[in-house]
């Protein structure tokens, strides 16, 4: 039996940050279904927020103001103490990252450069051109190499073993070895990322199936605020590849088919730099009103920024446009439309990243602390992944130091691995059945059609009905290839089961929340309702199906006010 004190699941920014902060006296390993630098953190572009006050227009910036922007941006659903913790830790975190080797772009006087981002009172987004996620992920991986952290690469975790409300172990599929393997650990940190590919149109990597969230839910750990799904305003037409908010931060315009900077009608002060929920909705409204090009997109125009600025600040965006749309943003506007981008909700954890199950922690996009509430500000996700990854590593270490003896669950863990193997074999031995890749495509269409930017009760209910049919179809799933090495059918088959749970949690949470807040816009309840809904949605799986309860927010420093930008 493979045994560790601490197993970290996920090799993106949150997982690596957790690994780097875990007490080195414990036996720690990171399990990742892809090589860590292939994780989706690599695709983040625009930057990471910290009130360094390096920008000439941001000399007055403080972490309190950063916290206020984050809370207002969250439509007041963030836990204010957690948001304050995040923004306070942001500053030392930036200097530590810089010291670890992150090649942040610089201002002429040598300090870390900062740019304006949506919903922020000051330019506080630190960046490395438009490849910030890539340099952060590579740098954290480099530090992990430096410290000889053990990696299980291309291992997919399939099950969480819990006994007596205590974490006992995991089961994983080793892709290269082709085997299903039981692992014991006294503590586990999930840093498995978001579920973007539950949607058809998503900026996320293909691998972002989000199964970690669904797996935790299936194991009895509650999920929080799952109805809050971020749609990024600017994804490239056709491919939905992210076009960073930095393109607007650097001064890009959004233009409709009538040639107007339409953000004037929706956020006259912040214009293109209003928070993402507002900009995404505005774009969709323009398209729905018939002000889109070919009825389906608007333009992101960077031409006035000039060649030099585009080449220096947005070289990655230019590459994407050249290679994936065959156009040069120096000469032509970029066709864009909103697409799913981020999951504000996730595994219910507190500000120490602890879940109700002893020894089970979660951090990053798969977790919901919550610091983003109903809408995340751009530049806060990389920050959250790194800061709360670190918090999780420290919390798990403290838990281990607490001397929790752990429990003897070798038999259960080995049994769970055998059960999965037997199940795969029996699916493989069927004569025929559903192709899991096609089921996945059906799920994506369903979610895009029924739980998008604008929602209402009949559509969400229809989504739940269709989801039930899909669940039935999944019972007939079939593995066409061999259940051996690199069986990607098996990977998707295992993940899909958890995606069904995620989809249900999103749809149910959205149906029950009869108000509009942040990214959750109900056309049948178009107003925010603080009296009734200033609370987190908690969804727990029980024998009888999903059970929803609500948790009131702790009162914070900032009373909810109208969000005008």
């Amino acid at each position: 039996m493979i045994r560790y004190d601490l197993l970290i699941v996920g090799g993106g920014l949150a997982g690596l940050s957790a690994a780097l902060s875990a007490d080195p006296k414990f036996k720690v390993a990171v399990i990742s279904k892809v090589h860590p630098i292939r994780s989706h953190s690599v695709a983040a572009q625009g930057g990471i927020n910290a009130a360094l006050a390096n920008h000439p227009d941001g000399a007055e910036d403080t972490c309190d103001l950063h916290a206020f922007d984050t809370i207002k941006g969250s439509d007041y659903l963030a836990d204010q103490d957690a948001a304050e913790l995040l923004t306070r830790l942001a500053i030392p975190t930036m200097y530590e990252l810089d010291h670890w080797g992150v090649p942040f772009s610089r201002f002429p006087k040598g300090t870390i450069a900062q740019r304006p981002f949506g919903g922020a009172g000051f330019p506080r987004t630190c960046y490395a051109a438009d490849r910030t996620g890539q340099v952060l992920l590579h740098t954290l991986y480099e530090q992990a190499v430096r410290r000889n952290i053990v990696f299980y690469e291309e291992w997919l975790v399939t099950d969480i073993i819990i006994r007596d409300r205590k974490l006992a172990g995991l089961v994983a599929y080793d892709l290269a070895g082709g085997e299903i393997i039981p692992l014991r650990a006294r503590a586990v940190i999930f840093a498995t990322g978001g579920y973007g590919r539950v949607y058809q149109k998503s900026t996320n990597a293909y691998i972002n199936l989000g199964s970690g969230i669904g797996m935790a839910y299936k194991a009895g750990i509650p999920l929080k605020d799952m109805e809050f799904v971020q749609f990024h305003p600017t994804s490239l037409l056709g491919k939905n590849i992210l076009i960073t908010e930095a393109a607007r931060g650097e001064g890009g315009y959004l233009i409709n088919a009538k040639g107007r900077r339409f953000m004037e009608d929706y956020a006259s002060k912040a214009m293109e730099l209003a928070p993402r929920d507002i900009v995404a909705r505005s774009i969709q409204r323009e398209i729905d009103k018939g002000n889109g090009f070919e009825g389906q997109y608007v333009h992101l125009d960077l031409r006035h920024l000039g060649r030099e600025k585009i080449l220096k600040r947005l070289p990655g965006i230019r590459d994407i446009c050249l290679h994936f749309a065959g156009l040069d943003p120096i000469d032509r506007p970029i066709p864009i439309l909103p697409a799913q981008h981020y999951s504000m909700g996730g595994i219910d954890v507190d500000a120490t990243c602890a879940s109700p199950v002893e020894g089970f922690f979660a951090a990053g996009e798969c977790a919901c602390v919550s610091v983003h509430g109903a809408n995340r500000l751009g530049g806060n996700s990389l920050l959250e992944a790194i800061v709360f990854g670190k918090v999780a590593g420290e919390s798990a270490s403290a838990y281990l130091r607490g001397g929790s003896a752990g429990i003897d669950a070798d038999r259960e863990t080995a049994e769970a691995a055998r059960a999965l193997m037997a199940r795969m074999r029996s699916i493989h031995e069927r004569e025929a059945g559903e192709n899991v890749f096609q089921l996945l495509n059906r799920l994506k269409r369903l979610m895009s059609d029924t739980a998008g930017i604008f929602r209402d009760a009949p559509t969400l209910s229809r989504g739940l009905e269709e989801l039930a049919e899909l669940r039935e179809a999944y019972r007939r799933v079939f593995i066409y290839g061999n259940c051996g090495r690199y069986c990607q059918e098996m990977v998707v088959l295992v993940e899909f089961e958890h995606m069904l749970e995620i989809a249900e949690a999103i749809l149910l949470g959205a149906l029950r929340r009869e108000e509009t807040r942040g990214s959750h816009f109900r056309t049948d309840f178009p107003k925010r309702d603080d009296a009734a809904w200033l609370k987190h949605t908690i969804i727990t799986r029980s024998e009888k199906g999903p059970a929803i309860t609500y948790r009131d927010l702790k009162p914070g420093r900032y009373a909810p006010q109208e969000r005008v930008y």
């Binding site: 090589h35 292939r38 200097y95 080797g101 090649p103 490395a128 994407i320 192709n435 090495r485 059918e489």
Partner: protein, 239 residues
């Protein structure tokens, strides 16, 4: 269109074989999108690596009509051919179908100590770094470690001990970082035929790099740094 895709399952098959698939991609489909559609619609057993689909994660390097590249960044229509031949990266062991074992690539990466070596704890307000000096590093940090260059390099092909273009370019990236204080001995580790002097300067790495890193510039830069470092040492000994 006909897609001729190399299939191989080492545990079961004696040797690799090509399998033909007939598939009509949508107008702007990339090779990766075509592969996914073929898998989803025709053959769920087909295996290949993928993640970001936007040329930043480095997963889907393969050989497409004889050219090493990222499948996600190659438009099918740009190939201008009725037949698309897809093979795994050369010079690496096939694990399954288009998936190769990148172990030698990652071992070379680890050998060069791929991390910033700055001496003490972080300065209170961060490092002061000249804007232009930092930008010099940017050429190399666009590397996505996809191993296209390693796989294309004729030297790495014939000598498994050669560090290869990506690892050497990575070392150069640190060597020119103003915050890095690595000792000269760290560069001397690549002062040999399995390091910078192994390079044949045929620039296959520059040709195939999907991110325009030009790894050979890094190798050239390291050579200059090593020569300069040695000269300095001699000069110091014999004033």
């Amino acid at each position: 269109l006909t897609f001729k895709i190399l299939r191989f399952e080492p545990q079961r098959d004696e040797r690799p074989r090509f399998q033909l698939y007939s598939h009509e991609p949508k107008p702007q489909d990339t090779v990766l999108e075509a592969l996914k559609d073929i898998r989803d619609q025709q053959d769920p057993s087909l295996s290949f690596r993928y993640s970001c689909r936007e040329a930043v994660c480095g997963s889907c390097s393969m050989v497409i009509n004889g050219r090493i590249s990222l499948a996600c960044r190659t438009q099918v229509s740009d190939l201008g051919s009725d037949e698309v031949v897809i093979e795994p990266l050369p010079n690496l062991e096939i694990q399954k179908d288009l998936i190769v074992d990148l172990k030698p690539f990652w071992e070379a990466y680890r050998r060069i100590e791929p991390f910033l070596q700055a001496p003490e704890g972080p300065p209170e307000r961060g490092h002061q770094v000249d804007e232009k000096d930092m930008e010099r590093v940017f050429q190399y940090i666009t590397c996505i470690l996809c191993a296209c260059c390693y796989s294309a390099c004729p030297v790495a092909t014939r000598d498994g001990r050669y560090a290869g273009p990506a690892a050497l370019a990575k070392l150069y990236r640190f060597a020119i970082d103003p915050r890095d204080r690595r000792p000269f001995s760290s560069l001397e580790r690549v002062d040999g035929p399995d390091g910078v002097w192994g390079c044949d300067t045929v620039f296959r790495c520059n040709d195939v790099c999907p991110k325009d890193v030009r790894p050979a510039d890094g190798i050239e830069g390291l050579r200059r740094k090593i020569i300069a470092g040695k000269a300095k040492r001699i000069f110091r000994r014999e004033p």
